[in-house]
């Protein structure tokens, strides 16, 4: 995990406007269909946005929801899952399992406040290079419109290097305390402390 100082105000990057925002999307491909479709798109020099970075799995059935959540946690703005068309899996029927996991995972991320459009499923056979390219373009635009997800990077403050007593004194006793107003929780609180 990237070790970021926790002092920057939350959501500073929220500012990035849809116009300039270039999303980063992780795409999972099946070795037999969609990865070959990506190869085909390349061979045919079909241009599409560079925002999607592909990971090759043997089968969409290998896709562990952990991978998707990991991608969000590591800062991806969206995840694109691809595989063989239903009924055409090279492993007979595994893409149906992928489909079911996708549907349940999408319900779950929605419950965690992540727009369902940040997790998309596209079937692409080995012959559908052009289609895969256009789907990637579509997904990229949809995510661009949603703006950054920018999940916070978790971190442990290494306290051994900190003199807590001094730290406390440094606050002069009223550090970061919100003003005594009816709404006790001060919105600018973090920001204030950070400066």
């Amino acid at each position: 995990m990237s070790a970021q100082a926790p002092v920057a105000p939350a959501l500073a990057q929220g500012a990035a406007s849809a116009a300039t925002f270039e999303p980063v999307i992780i795409g999972f491909t099946c070795n037999w269909c969609s990865y070959r479709a990506a190869d085909l798109a390349g061979t045919a020099r079909t241009k599409y946005p560079p925002n999607v970075r592909l990971i090759r799995l043997m089968c969409s059935g290998r896709l562990d929801p952990t991978f998707v959540l990991k991608a969000y946690a590591e800062g991806a703005d969206a995840v694109l899952v691809t595989g063989c068309h239903p009924g055409e899996c090279h492993y007979i029927e595994q893409n149906y399992k992928a489909l079911r996991r996708f549907q349940l995972l999408q319900r779950t991320i929605e419950a965690l406040g992540i727009e369902p459009a940040r997790l998309q499923l596209v079937w692409a056979s080995a012959a559908e290079g052009v289609r895969l390219a256009s789907e990637i373009a579509r997904v990229t635009e949809e995510v661009r419109a949603l703006g950054p997800l920018n999940w916070p990077a978790g971190n442990i403050v290494d306290i051994d290097s900190v003199n807590l007593d001094a730290a406390w004194e440094a606050t002069g006793g009223d550090a970061g305390g919100p003003p005594a107003m009816p709404d006790g929780v001060d919105p600018e609180h973090e920001a204030e402390v950070a400066q």
């Binding site: 939350a10 959501l11 929220g14 562990d64 929801p65 952990t66 998707v68 959540l69 990991k70 969000y72 946690a73 239903p86 029927e93 149906y96 399992k97 489909l99 079911r100 996991r101 549907q103 349940l104 995972l105 319900r107 779950t108 419950a111 965690l112 406040g113 992540i114 999940w151 916070p152 978790g154 442990i156 403050v157 306290i159 051994d160 807590l164 009223d174 970061g176 305390g177 919100p178 005594a180 107003m181 009816p182 709404d183 006790g184 929780v185 919105p187 973090e190």
Partner: protein, 348 residues
């Protein structure tokens, strides 16, 4: 407390340092079940008292944080922290104890993965406080909220800050061992303590850093007496929808979302035994990165449907995905929270 008192404390500490290994038991934001579970090792508690010099156990006996502060770094041999990191005060004390302790143990579900209170991370701090202070029975016309630095007529009153997100112990300090469970089963606690004592006496191996103590390496099904077959779920049910569940057969096979398959063993599969589904309090199995992801994948894998709409029909049976999959582990999961918790819209 006077400086002299402080030095006395230090002297006392120095004296003690040649004596028995020191044990501290600290409850952060906890329900106390962990303490009760420790007390429930019953007569063994006396053996613990014999093996350790218990320097801190607020719930049960006297002691002062001041004494802890006075100790040398690493003077406490083992600190068991139960409860989650909910206020800046608990975070601060956890760090203090970390400095003073050789071994820091995340004790119980709260400390290790956030437990039920971790579900607070589904909401923003403002939503939580607003809800608590505007319930139907609350008489609060002026919308008063707790204030961390309150100017009372007689002077300033401080309250610890309610943090934006609840955190697990290892998100705040370096943790050596974990004892899972909500609460950990007393027999397991005793087993873990014995292991620690043995290690300290050199009569047993010191578990490698990061070990999970007082639990198994598999999942609850391993200890569950119910009969299991291959699984095909064509509908998920809720307990109040089914008159009678077969007492012999796997609850999940009967459509009841049981978290047993993904939940670490060690509890003895008590809930399935009493006819209630496992709710997952022992957290994830060995080496698992994200508890919820395992369960999502497992449940979806065994759904008997291939058409998206059929699949949706089955999945509608899980009315609360976030709660079902992250009931105990949200704060410790890959995402740690819902977006609402850190996306400060709620407070803007």
């Amino acid at each position: 407390m006077s400086p002299t008192a402080r030095s006395n404390g230090a002297a006392k500490a120095a004296a003690k340092s040649r004596a028995k290994p020191k044990l501290a038991i600290f409850g952060a934001a906890s329900c106390g079940g962990c303490d009760v579970a420790i007390v429930n090792i019953h007569e063994h508690i006396l053996e613990v008292a014999a093996a350790f010099d218990i320097v801190l156990w607020p719930t049960i006996m006297d002691g002062k944080y001041a004494d802890i502060e006075a100790m040398a770094d690493g003077e406490i041999t083992v600190t068991l922290v139960n409860g989650s990191m909910r206020t800046d005060e608990t975070v601060h004390l956890a760090r203090l104890l970390r400095r003073k302790s050789k071994f820091m143990v995340a004790f119980g579900s709260c400390a290790s993965e956030g437990c039920i209170p971790g579900l607070a991370n589904l909401s923003s701090r403002k939503e939580i406080i607003d809800t608590a202070f505007s319930t139907v029975s609350t008489d609060n016309p002026d919308g008063i909220r707790p204030i961390w630095e309150y100017q009372a007529p007689e002077g300033v009153l401080h309250l610890p800050e309610f943090e934006p997100m609840l955190r697990t112990l290892d998100q705040v300090v370096d943790v050596d061992y974990t004892i899972p469970g909500c609460p950990p089963e007393s027999k397991q606690i005793w087993a873990a303590l014995q292991a620690v004592v043995a290690a300290l006496n050199g009569t047993g191996p010191l578990p490698p850093k990061g070990s999970i103590l007082g639990a198994g390496e598999s999942t609850v099904c391993d200890e569950c007496a119910r009969k299991r077959d291959v699984k095909k779920i064509d509908r998920f049910v809720r307990i109040q929808q089914v008159a009678q569940f077969d007492p012999e057969i796997c609850l999940l096979e009967q459509g009841l979302p049981c978290n047993g398959p993904a939940t670490r063993d060690g509890c003895g599969a008590l809930c399935p035994a009493v006819g209630a589904p496992c709710i997952g309090c022992y957290g994830a199995a060995e080496g698992v990165v994200d508890y919820g992801a395992r369960l999502i994948s497992a449940y979806a894998s065994i759904v008997e449907a291939t058409k998206p709409e059929e699949i949706d029909r089955v999945l509608d049976g899980i009315v609360d995905p976030a709660g079902q999959f992250y009931r105990f582990s949200l704060a410790g999961s890959l995402l740690r929270s819902s977006r609402a918790a850190w996306n400060s819209d709620g407070e803007k």
